[in-house]
């Protein structure tokens, strides 16, 4: 029997990890991830979760210990934010290159400097090309469901890649939401114990993490890239199986109100809820705007996105990260290349919102729809609400 209760999303995330029966957790506290690791420590301390919690001395060591634990065959979980994600940056590539099915809840937060503990996507956008599968969540239910699915995806024989479950700092991590928790019995039947293909054990010695000379490096990276690209089929399969079992259905790309409009927003994470509010309000004025939500960001769901885009005339890409000197925001650039490669006739606009925890108001999206926000001629993107 599943239970539904009102609960802080961070606590719910740690309960999801418990339901997944994680065996090793190595984590280092950082706001706004702290409630997740505090609750996990508590679950381990109380004996409610049979796992080892390694109180590492840094995030670099957190991800390193996760690599060791996962390589030795344990189901491994961690969580971090912002500076922590940057400190483990080096090891993120190694976890994916070594095909270790670690799951991490990344509580998205702004990067210093100036120091900001509040939410945006500058941390994850700086880590987007680390070879991890990346899921984004809009609400607490998605966080719980995604963490459970993430292990099944990561550990699948055809995948064997680490998975990040992204949730927005504070605006999602610290809110209390009604969340339905599946029963342990149902999770156990959905997610059987991890049986590694290879693990570090004296009875069957293996060498992991050998180096690649020029004549083999390209092939090794190509094989990894193919695994990441092909993981989409497994991800879709796992989402379907989850839906069949638990009645909550997910897709790599989800749409809202896109049927009768040639305009849509594209966005990642909890901002989608603000946009949906704006769309409802627009509807009350008789205006129709759609929303395309990227649930899956890596591997980039090209086909699914294309079919959502193909009958659109105007798209507004909403992002929570500064382009840092790039032509546009990182999400925009990928969508633009997809549109260009498929010769779609779509006007693309790029808006930056919600940096460092700045409130994101539904009115912004109404103004975007009504073309009340104008572009500077020297930039392709607009930072909404910035005081110049």
């Amino acid at each position: 029997m599943s239970i539904k209760k009102g609960i802080e999303v961070s606590i719910a995330a740690s309960i999801a990890a418990k339901l997944a029966r994680v065996e090793v957790i190595a984590a280092y506290p950082i706001t706004p991830q702290t409630h997740i690791v505090e609750h996990l420590s508590e679950l381990v301390a109380n004996g409610e979760l049979e796992a080892i919690y390694i109180n590492v001395e840094s995030e670099h060591s957190a991800m390193s210990a996760c690599c060791g634990a996962s390589a030795a065959g344990a189901r491994t979980f961690t969580s971090t934010s912002a500076q922590g994600l940057e400190l483990m940056h080096e090891i993120l590539f190694i976890a994916s290159g070594m095909r270790l099915p670690i799951v991490m809840a990344t509580v998205n937060r702004a990067l210093s400097s100036p120091l900001s503990i509040w939410g945006d996507h500058s941390d994850i956008m700086a880590a987007r090309d680390t070879g991890w599968i990346m899921l984004f969540c809009e609400n607490g239910q998605e966080v719980v469901d995604s963490i459970i699915m993430a292990f099944k995806i990561a550990e699948h024989r055809n995948v064997l890649l680490p998975v990040m479950v992204n949730l927005d700092g504070f605006s999602l991590s610290h809110v209390i939401e009604p969340i339905e928790f599946p029963s342990q019995k149902d999770v156990d039947s959905f997610l059987p114990p991890y049986k590694p293909l290879y693990s570090l054990h004296p009875d069957r010695p293996v060498t992991m993490g050998a180096y690649g000379m020029p004549e083999i490096y390209t092939e090794a990276k190509y094989a990894q890239e193919m695994a990441l690209i092909n993981s989409k089929d497994t991800i879709i399969g796992v989402m379907k199986e989850f839906g069949d079992k638990f009645g909550r259905h997910y897709k790599p790309v989800e749409t809202h109100n896109t049927e009768n409009t040639d305009f849509a927003f594209i966005c990642l994470g909890s901002t989608n809820e603000n946009i949906a509010t704006a769309i409802d309000e627009l509807k009350s004025y008789g205006k129709e705007a759609g929303l395309i939500k990227l649930r899956l960001f890596r591997p980039f769901p090209k086909d699914e996105l294309l079919s959502a885009l193909k009958d659109k005339k105007r798209i507004a890409v909403i992002e929570r990260a500064m382009p840092a000197g790039a032509a546009n925001g990182p999400l925009y650039n990928e969508i633009a290349s997809l549109i260009y490669n498929n010769r779609l006739d779509i006007t693309l606009e790029n808006y930056i919102v919600g940096l460092g925890g700045r409130d994101v108001h539904p009115e912004y999206f109404i103004d975007i729809f009504d073309k009340k926000i104008t572009f500077k001629t020297d930039k392709n993107y607009t930072v909404i609400g910035v005081r110049e």
Binding site: V24, I54, E57, G68, S70, R204, P205, T207, M208
Partner: protein, 308 residues
Amino acid sequence: MRLKGLELYTDHPEAEFVASGHRACQGCAEILALRMALKVFGKDTIMAMATGCMEIISTPLPTTNWEIPWIHVAFENAAAVASGIESAIRILQEKKKIERKDIHVIAVAGDGGTSDIGMQALSGALERGHKFTYICLDNEAYMNTGIQRSSSTPYGAMTTTSPPGKKSIGQSTWKKDMAKIAAAHNIPYVATACPSYPFDLFSKIKKARSVNGPSYIHILSVCPTGWRIPADLAIEYGKLAVRTGVFPLYEVEDSRYKITYSPEPLRPVQDYLKGQGRFRHLKDEDIELIQKRITAQWEELKYLCSLK
């Protein structure tokens, strides 16, 4: 008739866990030390290795020289990786997912991977009390990247980033005392060793493996390439380091210091320094300064050993 002292290691496994065909230089004492250590650690060992010479000489994909489970993740994190492995093995055994047996986890890194970039991860792992052995293979510089100085490079030594010149003597700082730093964590066992003294090394590895908690072994590993000495003198220079007091052999068991091999009366450091290309530029007064420091260090060690 059995030779005195041999009973210590007559029961150590004959087996080799380093396959031949590795790419270490002739006379490399890092690989020698590791080969000796693995004989004692035995088959039920999992090794986490840092980036460095030993990693590079052993594992070009898709080949390996390791006959035990081995993992390399990065340069500065061998201790953290080992923490993860040790925890995983423990919980998997508790949950009866793998058979319960005495599997020992070791982390191996060079002096750079230990006393510089890996120090934080090492300190964390020692403090947390994982049951594992950390081995520092100290060849006194970053050899893998071309003989750059580390904090373990001795005073006066020439390296590619501490070149002697008009305004420099070469390495201008004194060698960081990593074994003492490890001992300051109050872990059950810390020792120094050198493959020029194999019996001493064997018995220390044996102790390190048997204690219930972290152990740390700091092994002086002569590097003919980086020290600019003939390859056939590697063992000899290891002995000289010990006999001059430059590298004393001792252990710290439950915070008690004990010299395991006393070379007294110490030979002059000059005997050790001369003949090494990396010290060739040193003047008599430089050597005198080094001699003073080494003598003082030896006296201090004896004092620590006298404490009950």
